[in-house]
């Protein structure tokens, strides 16, 4: 009961935040009703997907301070589970998504146990390695289409198909991912106030003192890593039905892992709104750069230059991102009064 109340209770945020968040929520719900281009719709869906990825990353990476650069492997596990089950055995999304989640979480426990024996940079490097190894396996595994990947052919089904999540119009996908987005947001609102959330923040602060307060640091990290994984896997499954054409390169590449972490860090790691702010900045930027600049002016790769500039700026000036700046200003103002 208390947990449910906590999930829906935003009263510890200032009124300005709550008003702004409410307006954004209304905009998100109403967006498809306004005239929009298909490019704008695709960007909005990407924004919501990456917000959820970022929120998942934020549990272990933001609150827990464990920089995880291997989240893409779980996008892959989720996406491939859904695609393989649908293509081979015609198993609909609502069954394959939970199964993909179980597989992802199972895999996260297997690799999480040794991974969390490492700390700091070594942990970050090891997460990259596990993700790349998995991608290489999928690239030669013929059962899942090897490097060519899998294609879900919409002709076989009769859209709108709510069981298999096959639609012709993007608006259906939009509302489904929006639903997932809100579930994730309320979960995160609970998480940040929960025992596990506090334990992680304590771990980030000082692992020795966390252990002295009775926290099983290793287990708390593994558990949270599994939570982060679950978020990513669900959206990965959605990704398969939405994109309909998945390959190891665009589900499991390092770019995606880095983008997930970067968004959360830019917006503000360890805060509720951070990943959403980060996604709201980086996803439109990414779409714009890729679709317009990259194609017309031949500036392929300019997105990477801009990402790395952002990483350097965030690392140098405010490691806690945009939300860190907001909180700093507020703290100063409160003190000044």
């Amino acid at each position: 009961m208390e947990a449910i109340k906590n999930a829906f209770d935003f009263s510890d945020f200032p009124r300005l935040d709550r008003t702004f968040a409410g307006l954004v929520a209304l905009f998100l719900i109403g967006f498809p009703l306004f005239p929009h281009s298909s490019f704008a719709m695709a960007t909005m869906i990407q924004f919501l997907m990456f917000s959820v990825y970022g929120m998942g990353w934020n549990t272990i990476g933001g609150y827990g301070g464990q920089v995880d650069l291997g989240k893409a492997q779980y996008v892959g596990i989720g996406a491939y589970t859904t695609a393989v089950l649908l293509i081979r055995w015609d198993i609909p999304f609502w069954f394959s998504m939970p199964l993909g989640l179980l597989l992802s979480v199972g895999w996260s426990f297997i690799i999480g146990y040794p991974l969390f024996r490492l700390k700091g940079h070594y942990f970050a490097i090891a997460t990259i390695a596990t993700s790349l190894v998995l991608k290489d396996i999928f690239e030669i595994w013929t059962f899942v289409g090897a490097a060519r990947g899998l294609e879900i052919s919409p002709i076989k089904y009769k859209p709108p198909d709510f069981y298999r999540l096959i639609f012709r119009e993007d608006v259906y996908y939009y509302y489904i991912i929006l639903g997932i987005f809100f579930v994730a947001l309320f979960y995160m609102n609970w998480f940040r106030k929960s025992r596990l959330g506090f334990q992680l923040r304590s771990i980030k602060d000082n692992e020795d003192s966390a252990r002295s307060l009775g926290i099983d640091v290793h287990w708390a990290k593994i558990k949270t890593y599994a939570v982060a994984t679950a978020f990513v896997s669900v959206v990965g499954s959605f990704h398969a039905c939405y994109i309909k054409n998945i390959e190891p390169e665009d589900t499991m590449s390092l770019d995606i892992s880095v983008l997930i972490a970067l968004m959360a860090m830019l917006g503000g790691a360890g805060s509720l709104w951070g990943p959403i702010i980060g996604a709201a900045i980086l996803i439109p930027l990414k779409s714009y750069l890729k679709e317009w600049l990259g194609a017309s002016a031949g500036l392929v790769g300019i997105d990477l230059i801009i990402y790395s500039t952002i990483i350097m700026l965030v690392a140098a000036f405010e490691p806690r991102g945009i939300w860190g700046i907001v909180e700093k200003i507020r703290r100063k103002r409160r003190k000044g009064l």
């Binding site: 208390e2 906590n6 106030k193 929960s194 025992r195 506090f198 334990q199 923040r201 304590s202 980030k204 602060d205 000082n206 020795d208 003192s209 966390a210 252990r211 002295s212 307060l213 009775g214 926290i215 099983d216 640091v217 360890g270």
Partner: protein, 247 residues
């Protein structure tokens, strides 16, 4: 039955022996001081008791239960809390949140953790700093916060490592009455290591003296400071000679 019973604890770091066969016990409700000059092995012994280091040989019992092989967080869960000499906080959590981390050990409910934390902060006199970050408050207040956090785990006993380090005389005065209050009102047994002799002498009914990793004396603080070995350990051979010549 003693609350804490240390039996023949030896700790080696490679070829260096930091603790030689140390035995002592602490009864429920006591305040015991663990004193000795720099490098005597006090913090090492603390870390062995708290499960932070594995012991080389010997056994440690808490409430009659063998805790020698338990991990540090398992020992904390049994009700044997500790504070650290140096508190390296990055300052991500504010004071209230810090105390709540401790309170979450016994309950998963946020409301209960919040309630307990508020009570303990009032008890420790730090409720005014609830929303400050650890980096924004003075050292004395930081020490109170770490103590409050340890108290929030509702321990039976706290190991205090150099709790008075870096405090001025008036702050030490406040700390002494606070520790007495914790011992009497919260019924928490205390074992403290300390350089500041005054604090130990005034608080402890009993002190254990370590020197170069060995236990050299134990007993009433007033008697222990008259012990020749203790004086030699603290002030050196020449001082002992000089005083005996004068007498």
């Amino acid at each position: 039955m003693s609350l804490l019973n240390v039996q023949g604890v030896t700790k080696d770091f490679g070829g260096l022996r930091a603790n030689y066969d140390i035995s002592f016990s602490v009864e429920e409700g006591e305040i015991v001081g663990l004193i000795g000059p720099n490098g005597a092995g006090k913090t090492t012994l603390f870390n062995c008791i708290a499960g932070y280091f594995p012991v080389t040989s010997g056994q440690i019992f808490f409430e009659g239960k063998d805790i020698t092989l338990l991990k540090d967080f398992e020992i904390a869960r049994l009700g044997l809390a500790r504070t650290f000499q140096v508190y390296g906080a990055s300052g991500d959590l504010n004071v209230l949140e810090n105390v709540m981390v401790g309170a979450f050990l016994k309950t998963a409910s946020r409301n209960q953790a919040l309630e307990l934390s508020r009570k303990i902060m009032a008890f420790m006199g730090i409720e005014a700093q609830a929303n400050s970050l650890m980096t924004e408050i003075p050292v004395a207040a930081q020490k109170r916060v770490t103590l409050a956090t340890a108290l929030a785990t509702e321990p039976k006993m706290i190991l205090l490592d150099e709790v008075a380090a870096g405090l001025n005389p008036s702050e030490i005065e406040g700390l002494i009455s606070l520790l007495k209050k914790i011992n009497q009102e919260k019924k928490v047994t205390l074992l403290l290591t300390e350089h500041v002799m005054e604090l130990v002498m005034r608080l402890s009914k009993r002190v254990v003296v370590l020197e170069s990793g060995r236990k050299i004396a134990e007993g009433d603080p007033q008697e222990v400071i008259k012990n020749e070995q203790v004086i030699r350990a603290y002030l050196g051979e020449s001082f002992l000679k000089r005083t005996s010549e004068q007498v």
